[in-house]
C-alpha cells in the first residue's frame, strides 16, 4: 500500500497490485491450459464428469483474480486547497466525492478497542466524518494522518499551505 503527495497538495492513496493485466492473463493461462489438457484427456477416456468440476474451478479462480485486480485499481484522492478539503473515492473514475470546509475540518486517528486491530483515519467537520486510508497498513495510516494534520490544520485554523519538498 502506498500514498503519494504531489506538489498540488493532493494525496493519493491506493493499494498495491503486483500483477499487471497482462501478467494476470499469463498466470490464468498457466492454470487453464494444463487443466484443459488433463480434463480433456480424461473426458476422451469416458470420464467426462471431470469437465464440469474443472470448469467451475477455473471460473472461481478467474473470479477471484478479477476481484483482486479490481481492488488494486481502487483509489482515494484527498485534495487540500485554501478553502476546501475534498475527498474523492473510486476505481478509474470518481464514484464518491465529499467536500468539507477546511477551516472547520479535522483529521482524527481513532484507535481500535483492541490494540492489535487497525486504527481508523477519519477526516471530518462538525460531526460529519469520512474514513480514508482503510487499505493502508497501520504505519502508513499513521504517517498519512500526520501529513494530513499538517496540511489541514486544527479546527478553526487553516495554516498556509506549503509546497512539499
Amino acid at each position: 500500500m502506498t500514498f503519494t503527495v504531489t506538489r498540488e497538495r493532493v494525496v493519493s492513496i491506493s493499494p498495491n497490485c503486483s500483477l499487471s493485466p497482462r501478467q494476470a492473463r499469463i498466470f490464468m493461462a498457466s492454470l487453464v491450459i494444463p487443466t484443459i489438457v488433463i480434463s480433456t484427456a480424461l473426458a476422451l477416456a469416458g470420464f467426462w464428469l471431470v469437465l464440469p468440476f474443472a470448469g467451475l474451478e477455473m471460473l472461481a479462480i478467474a473470479w477471484a483474480l478479477r476481484i483482486s485486480l479490481r481492488r488494486g485499481r481502487y483509489q482515494e484522492v484527498v485534495r487540500v486547497s485554501d478553502r476546501h478539503l475534498v475527498v474523492e473515492k473510486g476505481q478509474q473514475k470518481v464514484l464518491e466525492r465529499v467536500e468539507f470546509p477546511r477551516y472547520w475540518s479535522a483529521v482524527k486517528l481513532i484507535p481500535a478497542s483492541i490494540a492489535t486491530y487497525p486504527s481508523r483515519l477519519v477526516v471530518g467537520c462538525r460531526g460529519d466524518s469520512l474514513e480514508i486510508g482503510a487499505c493502508l497498513t497501520e504505519s502508513e495510516r499513521r504517517g498519512l494522518c500526520e501529513h494530513l494534520r499538517q496540511l489541514v490544520g486544527p479546527v478553526e485554523a487553516s495554516p498556509r499551505l506549503a509546497i512539499p519538498r
Binding site: L31, R97, V98, D128
Partner: protein
C-alpha cells in the same frame, strides 16, 4: 458518482467481534490461521486415537479388541482424518499466518472466502466422523475408496462422498486464496525470485491442488452415480473399468502426496538457514527443484498400481519417471546439507526437527525408490513395507515439518518464547519413538506381512509389539506438544522482534506478536 458535503459515520470501534463471534466471523488471516492450526491439531488427535485402536489390536497376534470390519474402518478413517483433517489444514494454517507476512500483504486476497473455506471443514469432518455410528459403519475399503469394495459401504457411503467433496471445496478455496495473494499482493520489490521458499513451495502446492482436485471430485462423483444412478464408469458388468478408478484416483493421489510434503520443504528451507546462520545454498535451484517435483508428480501415478497388470512399456515408463523424482529431491537434500556445512549451527527445537526431517524423510525417499522398482514392488506391494515407507514420508516428513514450523514461528505469533527444555524433550521423544514405531514395519513388510489386517502370523509378533509400544509413546508424547503451545500462548519470556539470531525475511521485521494487518514501516525487500 455520489457527491455530497459530508457523510455521517459512526465512530464506533471496528475491531474483532467478542467471544465466539470473533472466530465465527473471522476474516483476519491470523485468526483464520490459528483456527486452521487448532483444528488440525484436534484432527491429529482424533486420527491418532484411531491409530491407537489399530496398534492396540496389532499388539499381539489374534483378535483382542475390535472385529475385523471395525479395524478396517479405523484404517480408512485414520488416513482420511490425518491427510485431509490433519496435515493439509495444518499447512493451510501456516500459509494463512505466514504468507501475508512474508510477501508484505495486509491480509489474504479474499478474506471472506478464507473464512468460508475454514468453516466448511468442521462440518465435513463431523459428517465423516458420524459415519462410524451409521448402519453398516464407516467406510472400510481404505482411503483410496477403490470400487467395487467401497460400494459395499452401508448408509455411510453418500455421506463419505459429500464430506470428501466438502474437503475438496475447502482445499480449492484455500489454494485460490493463497495463489491470488502471492501473485497480486506482493510488496513492491518482492519479485518472484525474492520470495521466501515457504511462499514458493505453497505457490507450487496451490497449483497442484488446483490441477488435482477436480479429478478427485469427478472420481468420487462417478462412484456415487455408479452406486445410485446406474451408471457404469467403474462397473465391469456395465462396460466400465474398476482399474480406471485406480488410475484416476492416483492421478490425484500422487500429487496429493506432494501437496503434503512441498510446504514442509518450504518450512525446512526457512529454518535451516536461520540456525546455520548462512544464506540458503542454491535458492534458485531449490525453486526449480520444487517445480520439477511438482511436474513429475503428475506423470508417476501408476507406480501405486504396478500389480494391476499393465504393459511392460507402461511399467518401465512409470518406474523411470518415479526414479527421476530422486534427482530434484536430491538437489534439495544436498542444498540443505550444504547450507548447514560450516555454518555456525545451534540446535534449538525447530532446528532439531528440521535436521531430523532431512535425515528421516530421506529414509522415506529411499524406501520409495525401492518401491519404484517394478519387480521389487511386486514383492512389496500391499505389505507393511509400503506402510513404513509412506509413514516415514508423512510423519517425520510432513508432520515434523509442521512441528518445526510451529516451534519456529510460535514466538512470532504469541509474543512469548516456548519452553526450550520441554521442546527438546518433545523432539527426542517424538524422534526416538517415531523410529521405534515405523522402522520395524520395514522388516515386517519384507517378511511378507500384508497391510490392513487385524490379525497376523506369530512370526510377525515381535516387531508388531515393538511397533505398538513405539506408537503409544509417540502418540502420548504429543500431549507434551499441546502443553508447550498452551504454556507459550499463556505467557513466558517475551520474544524479541527478530526472535532468532539468524532470522531473515519480512515476517521478522514485525513486532512480536505480529499486529493485525500492518507493518511498522513500509517493507523494503533487498
Amino acid at each position: 458518482m455520489t457527491s455530497h458535503a459530508a457523510e455521517h459515520h459512526d465512530e464506533h470501534h471496528h475491531g474483532p467481534e467478542k467471544g465466539l463471534k470473533r472466530w465465527l466471523f473471522a476474516t483476519n488471516h491470523k485468526d483464520i490461521g490459528t483456527m486452521y492450526l487448532v483444528f488440525a491439531l484436534a484432527m491429529f488427535f482424533v486420527g491418532g486415537a484411531m491409530a491407537f485402536v489399530i496398534r492396540a489390536e496389532l499388539f499381539q497376534p489374534g483378535l483382542q479388541f475390535v472385529d475385523p470390519g471395525f479395524f478396517n474402518q479405523m484404517t480408512t478413517m485414520h488416513a482420511l482424518f490425518m491427510i485431509f483433517g490433519g496435515v493439509m489444514p495444518a499447512f493451510v494454517g501456516l500459509a494463512n499466518w505466514m504468507i501475508p507476512l512474508q510477501v508484505g500483504a495486509p491480509d489474504m486476497a479474499l478474506p471472506r472466502m478464507n473464512n468460508w473455506s475454514f468453516w466448511i471443514l468442521p462440518f465435513a469432518f463431523t459428517m465423516l466422523f458420524s459415519t462410524l455410528f451409521m448402519d453398516g459403519g464407516a467406510p472400510a475399503g481404505g482411503w483410496t475408496l477403490y470400487p467395487p469394495l467401497v460400494l459395499q459401504t452401508g448408509n455411510a457411503f453418500p455421506f463419505v462422498i459429500l464430506s470428501v467433496h466438502m474437503m475438496g471445496i475447502s482445499s480449492i478455496m484455500g489454494s485460490i486464496n493463497v495463489i491470488v495473494t502471492i501473485m497480486n499482493m506482493r510488496a513492491p520489490g518482492m519479485t518472484m525470485l525474492k520470495m521466501p521458499l515457504f511462499t514458493w513451495t505453497w505457490l507450487i502446492t496451490a497449483y497442484l491442488l488446483i490441477l488435482a482436485m477436480p479429478v478427485l471430485a469427478a472420481a468420487v462423483t462417478m462412484l456415487l452415480t455408479d452406486h445410485y444412478a446406474a451408471t457404469s464408469f467403474f462397473n465391469a458388468a456395465g462396460g466400465g473399468d474398476p482399474v480406471m478408478f485406480q488410475h484416476i484416483f492416483w492421478f490425484f493421489g500422487h500429487p496429493e502426496v506432494y501437496i503434503m510434503i512441498l510446504p514442509a520443504f518450504g518450512v525446512i528451507s526457512e529454518i535451516i538457514p536461520t540456525f546455520a546462520r548462512k544464506k540458503l545454498f542454491g535458492y534458485s535451484a531449490m525453486v526449480y527443484a520444487t517445480a520439477s517435483i511438482a511436474f513429475l508428480s503428475f506423470i508417476v501415478w501408476a507406480h501405486h498400481m504396478f500389480t494391476v497388470g499393465m504393459p511392460l512399456s507402461g511399467e518401465l515408463f512409470f518406474m523411470f519417471a518415479t526414479m527421476l523424482i530422486a534427482v530434484p529431491t536430491g538437489v534439495k537434500v544436498f542444498n540443505w546439507v550444504s547450507t548447514m556445512w560450516r555454518g555456525s549451527m545451534t540446535f534449538e527445537t525447530p532446528m532439531l526437527f528440521a535436521v531430523a526431517f532431512v535425515f528421516l524423510f530421506t529414509i522415506g525417499g529411499f524406501s520409495g525408490l525401492m518401491l519404484a522398482i517394478v519387480p521389487a514392488d511386486f514383492q512389496y506391494h500391499d505389505t507393511y513395507f509400503v506402510v513404513a515407507h509412506f509413514h516415514y514420508v508423512l510423519v517425520p516428513g510432513a508432520v515434523f515439518g509442521i512441528m518445526a514450523g510451529v516451534y519456529y514461528w510460535l514466538p512470532k505469533w504469541s509474543g512469548n518464547m516456548y519452553n526450550e527444555k520441554l521442546g527438546k524433550l518433545h523432539f527426542w521423544l517424538s524422534t526416538i519413538f517415531v523410529n521405534v514405531t515405523f522402522f520395524p514395519q520395514h522388516f515386517l513388510g519384507l517378511a511378507g506381512m500384508p497391510r490392513r489386517i487385524p490379525d497376523y502370523a506369530t512370526q510377525f509378533a515381535d516387531f508388531n509389539l515393538i511397533s505398538s509400544i513405539g506408537a503409544f509413546v509417540f502418540g502420548l508424547s504429543q500431549l507434551l506438544f499441546v502443553y508447550i503451545i498452551w504454556q507459550c500462548v499463556r505467557g513466558g519470556t517475551k520474544a524479541t522482534d527478530e526472535v532468532w539470531e539468524g532470522s531473515h525475511g519480512l515476517e521478522w521485521t514485525l513486532p512480536s506478536p505480529a499486529p493485525y494487518h500492518s507493518f511498522e514501516l513500509p517493507p523494503t525487500v533487498r
